[in-house]
C-alpha cells in the first residue's frame, strides 16, 4: 500500500516539472497539425479518386484491379509514413521528458538530439513488438478462447505493463534495446502491484477506451441523424426514383396496367377515368428510355450532394482530429513525464516539494 501511495507523490513531481517546461507542448501541437492535415489530404485523395471513378460512368463496376491495388498501396504507404512520423516525434519528446525530469529543464535542441539518437531504436522496438505479436498470435488466440474471451482484453494490458518502461529505460539508462527490455521486465516484476496501479491510471487517461466512448457517442448521434434522413427520404414523394420499392424496367414500355402502378402515373395529374377514354397510343406514359434518363439525372444530383457532404465531413474530421489531439496532448505530456519520474524514483520516497501559494 505504501508503494501505491507513492504514485501520487510522483504525479506531484511530474506536475511540477510540467509547469516549468511548457516547451514540451510545442512538438505535440505540431503533431496535432500534421495529423489534421493528414486527415484532410487523405479525405481529398479519396474524394478525387472516387469522383474520378464515378465520372466515367454511373456504375462502379468499371474500376480495374490495378487501380484498386494502387489505392491499397497508397494506404499502406500512408500508414508507414504515419508510423515513422509518430516515432520521430516520440523519440524527440521522450528525450525532452528525460531531460526535464533529470535536470529540471528541457531545451529545444533536446528534441532534435533525441530524434538523432533514438529514432531507429524506437522504430526497432515498434517492429520487434509487432513481430512478437505476430509470432505469439496463436498463443494469444488460444489464451483468449480458453479464458472465455477475457484474455483478449487482459493479455494486452499485461503485455503493455511489462513493456511500458522499455522506451523509458533506453533513454534513462542509455542502453541497448535488449538491455532496456530486460530492465522493463525487471522493473515491472519488482514493483508489480504499485506499478500496475500506476499503469492502469495512465491507460485510463491515454488509452483508446475513453476516446472510443466519446467517438461511440458521436457515432450514435451521426447514425441516428443518417437514419432519420433516410426515413424521411423513403417517405417523401418528391423524388420517386429514390423510393425503395421503385425499380425501373429498362427493357420495354409500360403496359396500361403497369402504368397505373408506376410512379410516373402516381405523380402525374391524370385520373383513371381520363385514361379510359384515350387511345393507348395517346396515353402519356413514359418509356423506359425516359425513365433511365431521369434516373441518371437524379443519381447525378444525389452524388453531387453526397460529394459536398463528404467534403464538409472531411473538413469537420480534420478540425476534430486537431482539437482532440490537443486535448490528448495534455495527458500524453503529463503521463509521459510521470513515467520517467516513476522509473527514476523506483518507488522510493522522494523529498517533499517546495511550498507554493494557492491563488485566491
Amino acid at each position: 500500500m505504501a508503494k501505491v501511495l507513492l504514485i501520487f507523490d510522483y504525479l506531484k513531481e511530474a506536475f511540477g516539472v510540467n509547469r516549468k517546461n511548457k516547451l514540451l507542448y510545442r512538438p505535440q501541437v505540431l503533431l496535432a497539425v500534421l495529423k489534421a492535415l493528414t486527415v484532410l489530404s487523405g479525405g481529398m485523395l479519396i474524394y478525387f479518386y472516387v469522383s474520378g471513378m464515378l465520372g466515367t460512368d454511373l456504375g462502379l463496376d468499371n474500376y480495374s484491379f490495378s487501380s484498386l491495388l494502387s489505392a491499397f498501396l497508397v494506404i499502406i504507404i500512408a500508414f508507414i509514413l504515419f508510423w515513422v512520423v509518430s516515432a520521430v516525434f516520440q523519440s524527440g519528446l521522450y528525450y525532452m521528458y528525460n531531460r526535464s525530469v533529470m535536470t529540471g529543464e528541457a531545451r529545444a535542441s533536446d528534441f532534435s538530439y533525441g530524434i538523432r539518437q533514438y529514432l531507429f531504436k524506437f522504430l526497432a522496438i515498434d517492429l520487434l513488438t509487432l513481430l512478437a505479436w505476430i509470432v505469439f498470435l496463436p498463443l494469444y488466440l488460444i489464451i483468449g478462447l480458453f479464458t472465455l474471451f477475457s484474455g483478449f482484453t487482459i493479455v494486452p494490458v499485461f503485455v503493455s505493463i511489462f513493456l511500458g518502461m522499455w522506451k523509458v529505460s533506453i533513454i534513462s539508462d542509455e542502453c541497448s534495446i535488449f538491455t532496456a527490455l530486460k530492465n522493463s521486465f525487471k522493473f515491472a516484476g519488482k514493483f508489480f502491484a504499485a506499478y500496475s496501479v500506476f499503469m492502469l491510471i495512465v491507460f485510463a487517461f491515454t488509452s483508446p477506451v475513453q476516446k472510443a466512448e466519446g467517438i461511440r457517442i458521436v457515432a450514435d448521434l451521426v447514425s441516428t441523424a443518417i437514419d432519420s434522413i433516410k426515413d424521411e427520404k423513403a417517405t417523401t414523394p418528391d423524388n420517386p426514383f429514390l423510393t425503395p420499392d421503385f425499380e425501373p424496367d429498362s427493357s420495354l414500355n409500360y403496359q396500361f396496367d403497369t402504368y397505373l402502378d408506376s410512379p410516373a402515373y402516381k405523380y402525374s395529374n391524370i385520373e383513371p377515368s381520363d385514361i379510359s377514354s384515350y387511345d393507348m397510343d395517346l396515353v402519356p406514359y413514359r418509356t423506359s428510355l425516359d425513365l433511365k434518363d431521369s434516373t441518371t439525372d437524379s443519381m447525378n444530383s444525389f452524388l453531387e450532394v453526397m460529394g459536398i457532404l463528404f467534403i464538409m465531413g472531411v473538413a469537420a474530421l480534420s478540425i476534430g482530429t486537431f482539437l482532440s489531439s490537443l486535448i490528448k496532448m495534455i495527458f500524453d505530456v503529463f503521463f509521459g513525464l510521470a513515467m520517467f519520474v516513476v522509473y527514476k524514483n523506483k518507488f522510493q520516497i522522494i523529498a517533499p516539494e517546495q511550498s507554493e501559494e494557492v491563488p485566491k
Binding site: 491510471i201 475513453q210 466519446g214 457517442i217 458521436v218 448521434l221 494557492v358
Partner: protein, 265 residues
C-alpha cells in the same frame, strides 16, 4: 503547497482512509441491492399485471380507457421509480456522507455514523436534489446549450460530451458534500457548491475526470471477464463512486474557507 499537490494528497489520504475503513463501502452496495430488488419487484408486478389483465379491447379503446386499464401498473411504476427509489437513494447518500465525514475527522467510521447522517441529512439532500433537478431541467430545455454541446462534441470526437458532464459535476456535484460537511441547508449548500466549483475549478476537473476515466477503464476491464461482469461491475462502480466522494469531501475539508490551510496558501 499548490492546488495540484492538495488534490493529489486528497487522493492519497482517501486511499489510506478507505483501506483502513472498508465498511464505508457497505452502504453503497446495500443501495445497489435495494435498487435491484425494486426493479425486480416492478418486473414481477408487470408480469402479474399482464397475466391477469384482458387487453383484447384495448386497441379499439380511447386514451382514457387505456389509461384506466393500465392505472395500477402506472401507479406502481411511479411509486417505485418516482418516490421509493429516490427516497431510499437520498437516505443512503446522506448516511454515506455522514460516514465519510466521520472517517475524515476521526479516522474511523461506524454504523452509528451512517444512521446519524441518514437521520440528520436525508431530508435536506432530498430537497436539494429536487432543486438541482429543476435547475438542470431548465438548462436542458434551453436548446442553445444543448446544440452547442452537440456541435462541440462532434468536432472534438466526443470530448465535449465528457466535459459538459464534468461541468455539471463541478458546479452541481459538490453541494451534498458541503451540506453534510458544514451542516448547511439545501439552498445555501447549492449556492456554496456553485461558488466552490468556480473557485476550485481545475482541481475539481482533475477529481471528476479521474473518476470518469478510471472507473470506466476498470469497468471495461472487469466487463471483459465473464461472470465478473454481471455482478462485479455494479459493485466495482459503487466502490469507486464512494471512493471519489471521499476524495471530494477530503479536498473540500482541506481547502474550504474556514480551514487554516487555505488561509496560509
Amino acid at each position: 503547497m499548490n492546488l495540484f499537490s492538495i488534490t493529489m494528497d486528497s487522493f492519497k489520504e482517501s486511499m489510506q482512509l478507505s483501506a483502513r475503513n472498508m465498511k464505508i463501502f457497505i452502504p453503497s452496495i446495500v443501495s445497489l441491492v435495494i435498487n435491484v430488488i425494486a426493479v425486480l419487484a416492478f418486473i414481477v408486478i408487470l408480469i402479474w399485471f399482464i397475466a391477469v389483465s384482458d387487453f383484447s379491447e384495448l386497441p379499439d379503446s380511447d386514451f382514457i380507457s387505456v389509461l384506466r386499464a393500465t392505472l395500477p401498473l402506472t401507479i406502481s411504476g411511479l411509486f417505485i421509480f418516482g418516490i421509493a427509489i429516490p427516497t431510499v437513494y437520498t437516505m443512503i447518500e446522506a448516511g454515506i456522507l455522514g460516514m465519510l465525514k466521520a472517517v475524515i475527522q476521526t479516522g474511523k467510521a461506524s454504523a452509528d455514523d451512517f444512521f446519524n447522517g441518514l437521520k440528520k441529512y436525508w431530508f435536506p439532500i432530498f430537497i436539494g436534489l429536487g432543486i438541482v433537478g429543476i435547475i438542470l431541467l431548465v438548462l436542458l430545455l434551453s436548446i442553445l446549450p444543448v446544440v452547442l454541446v452537440i456541435l462541440a462534441g462532434v468536432l472534438t470526437f466526443g470530448w465535449a460530451f465528457i466535459f459538459s458532464g464534468l461541468l455539471i459535476n463541478i458546479y452541481f456535484g459538490v453541494w451534498a458534500t458541503i451540506l453534510v460537511a458544514d451542516d448547511r441547508g439545501a439552498w445555501q449548500a447549492i449556492k456554496q457548491g456553485f461558488s466552490f466549483g468556480n473557485r476550485f475549478f481545475w482541481p475539481l476537473i482533475i477529481i471528476f475526470l479521474s473518476s470518469v476515466f478510471i472507473t470506466n477503464y476498470i469497468l471495461n476491464l472487469a466487463g471483459s471477464i465473464p461472470f465478473v461482469g454481471l455482478l462485479g461491475i455494479p459493485v466495482i462502480a459503487s466502490i469507486m463512486s464512494t471512493y471519489f466522494k471521499l476524495v471530494v469531501m477530503k479536498f473540500y475539508l482541506t481547502v474550504r474557507p474556514e480551514n487554516s490551510l487555505s488561509q496560509t496558501v
